[in-house]
Symmetry: C2
Subunit: 181 residues, 2 copies
């Protein structure tokens, strides 16, 4: 079986814990993760950590992916305003692929119109007018997975693994990483 | 009051979630964090994410810090073998400053001889012969804080904040980050 692949767009001001947890956990699960800078690499996070992207978004945004996963932080506004991210989320959602976002980043899925009628969550203080807003840590509704903040980043990433690879791999990773919840 | 300062040495093969959680949470708490590459920057983690360090360890290992915090991952072996890390941990421990490590990295504190008689934890499969080994997620014993693995990275980082800045800041951050445990 070919490995699933996922795109993680990285905008200046990304939340470091969220981005790193998504990338790390998906790679542990054997998912082929492409980290793509919205602009130039390296990309600096909200807490001044600069991370090298694998590529630039311009080079990959029209490719085929099994998932797009958006980290939060102040950089979420940039994801929200980016036409490439919007079109990519729309295309993957239309294909039934996984679209996911954590913390403030579900606003970018809202902007793309892919949350319509979906149960979803977002960092407090953000609005998702087209969705059915749920105040839970991680919300899975079909091909849409949303998480509420950095405190649930690991649970969110494990939910992505369950969706893309399966429950057994999710449980195996949770045990290996000594996840206590 | 002057901000507390902490050194986070980064070795090739560091665990990304752990390193990023330590840096992110301490900076959220107002701690002045210096990320120092054992060799050259950027430094590549265990899951192929390259992170830019603030400086190289050679430039700062003899400076004064309120804490040294060691991320785990396969890179922990390099921390363990590094004479600068060993001497720094010994000096800070002798001064009553905070020495902390998560996942496999407590083996570097063991190698430095600063765990003698202390309650401490480490990722399963590693030995801490001089310490009183405790199978808990996060263990605080005086100026030594150890954590067991990536699944408790956030709890570990919040314990560092409680020690360096205080309980109120720890609780404020846990709420702001939507930590559920």
């Amino acid at each position: 079986m070919q490995a699933m692949n996922a795109l993680v767009p990285l905008a200046e001001g990304f939340e470091e814990i969220e981005a790193m947890t998504i990338i790390d956990v998906l790679r542990r699960a054997g998912v082929d993760v492409t980290v793509a800078a919205l602009g130039k690499s390296p990309v600096t996070g909200a807490h001044d950590v600069a991370v090298s992207a694998d590529t630039e978004l311009d080079a990959v945004h029209e490719r085929s992916f099994d998932a797009v996963v958006l980290p939060g932080g102040p950089g979420a506004k940039r994801l929200c305003d980016d036409e490439r991210v919007k079109k990519l989320a729309q295309r993957l959602a239309a294909e039934g692929k996984l679209v996911a976002a954590v913390c403030a980043a579900p606003i970018a899925l809202e902007a793309a119109g892919v949350l319509r009628g979906k149960r979803a969550t977002v960092f407090p203080g953000n609005a998702l007018p087209s969705a059915e807003l749920v105040e839970e840590g991680v919300v899975v509704d079909g091909n849409v997975i949303t998480g509420r903040g950095p405190g649930v980043a690991l649970e969110f990433a494990l939910a992505l693994v369950e969706k893309l690879v399966g429950r057994a791999k999710r449980d195996e990773l949770a045990r290996a990483m000594l996840v206590t919840t």
